[in-house]
Symmetry: C2
Subunit: 256 residues, 2 copies
């Protein structure tokens, strides 16, 4: 479409860039005051830029059969991906945590999780309540692949952790488990403790915010996210994906 260059008259009067009312005419959901929608003075990049402040959430369309293609990361914390229907921003930690949780719950139906022995057992000092919490949920911990025993005094000894937990994350995972299991009653359903152990383990085995990811890792996380979503066990937690639809993008750029 040809661009009409503004004449001197058009330059003197405020153009569409300074008339947000016209721009927002079809945006019924805007309730910003007049002060907050005004555009900044011309002659800077600010004029080129329109801020997207997503103010409303709505059910996203059911995604197509194809996976999203990851383009890269924002602040090494969010994966930015596209498919035909829009742009998606994915919280990499929450997404991977969810994927691992679903995988663990799925595998547990076939038997205990794969375990890895520590070359040097880990001896940790814990509070009495924390030691008790671990002791009371031995069944769940063993099924996940943990080997934790009382070591005398304030200590426990960790001889093995699930294969999916990075060795370096063993201590922080055990401490988190002790905290998260504290408060579960001894006689409570094993299933509930099992889910908690799986959730805590998934959290500590997952990539973290500020981790640089390879393209392959991003593809893996997005593919698994799609795959495990259909057998969703845990619909709770923080948002995993934000989507900006193709239609919204095209509308914003006045292409439709």
């Amino acid at each position: 479409a040809p661009t009409r260059a503004p004449g001197p008259a058009a330059e003197a009067s405020p153009g569409p860039w300074t008339q947000p009312v016209a721009v927002l005419a079809d945006t019924a959901t805007s309730t910003d005051g007049p002060g907050s929608t005004g555009f900044a003075p011309p002659q800077s990049l600010t004029d080129l830029v329109r801020d997207m402040r997503p103010a409303a959430m709505a059910p996203a369309p059911v995604p197509t059969g194809r996976s999203m293609l990851p383009l890269g990361q924002f602040r090494d914390t969010f994966i930015i991906a596209v498919d035909d229907e829009g742009i998606a921003i994915i919280d990499q930690h929450v997404a991977h945590e969810r994927v691992l949780f679903e995988q663990v719950m799925e595998r547990l139906t076939a038997g205990p999780l794969e375990s890895q022995r520590l070359l040097t057992p880990l001896v940790l000092e814990l509070s009495p309540a924390e030691r008790q919490a671990l002791g009371q949920h031995q069944v769940a911990l063993t099924r996940l692949g943990f080997e934790v025993e009382e070591f005398g005094g304030d200590s426990v000894c960790v001889a093995a952790v699930p294969a999916l937990v990075p060795i370096a994350a063993s201590e922080v995972t055990i401490r988190a488990l002790a905290l998260d299991l504290d408060g579960f009653e001894e006689g409570g359903p094993v299933d509930q403790a099992l889910r908690q152990v799986a959730a805590t383990t998934a959290c500590h085995a997952a990539v973290k915010a500020h981790d640089r990811l390879t393209p392959e890792k991003m593809v893996y996380i997005l593919d698994e996210l799609r795959r495990t979503a259909h057998s969703s066990v845990c619909p709770h937690g923080r948002p995993v994906v934000l989507r900006l639809s193709r239609r919204e993008i095209e509308r914003r750029f006045e292409r439709i």
Copy 2:
């Protein structure tokens, strides 16, 4: 942060995913009806996804000194880029058109634009009004690097076009110029005609929607967009950049 696995009770009652009111508590701008904010039933990817429908526009923060890093394209039409302060979506045609327009206006202050001769002059049939429009604005056309002459009958002959216009785009550019200049008065300011010729030329020399871009081309467009923004001559036209701020992203993912 450890994920609390939901207990059986939590599973039976609606969790936060089905309580948009709680999620939107701090979103004063939401005016969606209760029906439109409900989440879809669990057990599908829809649960993981929150739709971003940007409902309000606001002045974007003045960008930092650094350029945006392009990650890739969406539908070969929009460049997706990041900097420390957020994610940006750039309409590649509008951005490049703007860059070329600013470059042309800048170079014209030093003299006529660089021209390229066509190996075979282009003979085009035009309407009388179109031929007249081109004839009346010879000064502007020549300064931009066009050589267009009456060829007898309904035809004009194009011997040269600006170097920045792809040869293959010569005909469509001349036809667009004839249309866009039609209606400008003969005695009008040369400056205004010059701006129109520059705008039309920039539009036809720019990359188009659905053009696959190399990473280098994306970097070039974004860098030039930043550079020329400060000498902005033409603040009109369609939006060039949509930004989603880091703060908004982190708020959406409940990270702040």
